[in-house]
Amino acid sequence: MPAVSLTVNGKAVTADVDPRTLLVQFLRENLRLTGTHVGCDTSQCGACVVHVDGIATKACTTLALQADGGSVLTIEGLAAPDGPLHPMQEAFRENHGLQCGFCTPGMVMTAVDMVNRLGNELDEQTIRHELDGNLCRCTGYHNIVKSIAAGAKAMKGATA
């Protein structure tokens, strides 16, 4: 089996994998990082969004081997285990940007990517447009949009 070497949340990992192993499977099953979810498994819902080399990627439609040598950031790596939440996580908490929470890791990772690309001042229209690839079946999105706008502002000056 070929080997895959990645830096996941700042930590180097190497493993032999079946080439079929999806990045999301590798994260969840090999590394036990179960914050990244499998929702639709067809690259539509965005519950599996992680950052690969700084770019939001649907991990259910990426082979672990495609990310070989790269750096992966998952929801577990956004904030230090014992430290405060990442500003975007805190904004979701503060604005009640979730109900069941299943889509939330993907929402937060997409939101952070949005800020990385588009800056800290995001209007509602931009946020809704950019959330095209993330589905939530509970909230109706209203509080998610509010959370992202607040989180984007809060990320200004914070180390993201």
Binding site: P19, Q66, D68, T110
Partner: protein
Amino acid sequence: MYEFKYQRPTSVRQAVNMLAKDPEAKLLAGGHSILPVMKLRLAKPTQIVDIGRIEGLNTIELRGRSIVIGALARHVEVANSETVKTALPALAKVAAEIGDPAVRHRGTLGGSLANNDPNADYPAAVLGLGATIITSKRRIAADDFFKGLFETALEPDEIITKVSFPLARKAAYQKFRHPASGFALVGVFVSKRGSDIRVVATGAGSNGVFRVPSFEEALKKRFSPKSIEGMTIPADGMNTDIHGSAEYRAHLVGVMARRALAAA
């Protein structure tokens, strides 16, 4: 997925050799077309040849009256390219409307064209601009490239390296978007370049992307939505599925063509 062997060549020549040696090998660039098909077990490649990291294939250059884009250019790169946005904004818009942001981060121009999904956006732009597909072997005119459902003129060991898009005086793309997948239920690309007028529909035909000669003829006098006011195309040969009937899609071709002409 069925089992496969994974390879990662570092040059087009290496990749071509891998394909030539194994007719059941398939290319992977961004993976956003091939992996879903493999997950459904609709494809069973013996080898996946990952060309995603071959260098020099994601360039975007203005060359004379054309924009030449590398096959590995990701949708987001085409959508955000200042060169494309300035010289051929309709093409930037096509790329910006594919899938969703995360999909656009991975999907590539060459991958979309080689797959030739009947609902994909890029084939409409390539045929709608009369682009030229440059491969490891030859240059193929868009009119000769798309051969039907998921079929192209590409030979089994042939790899798209670049696409050359001629600049058009007027061009626009309008699509009726499937709300979940972002695919075109029907999308129409129109362009005018000298006397070459093109109206191309994607998502509509049961055999993939196609030109609409009756609209093109009617637009010769005046390139305006008024020239095709009230015109329709027959429902024969249109795709029918749970998302829309053949009649509905045929109707949408006229509607989207008029919207595109108004935007061009």
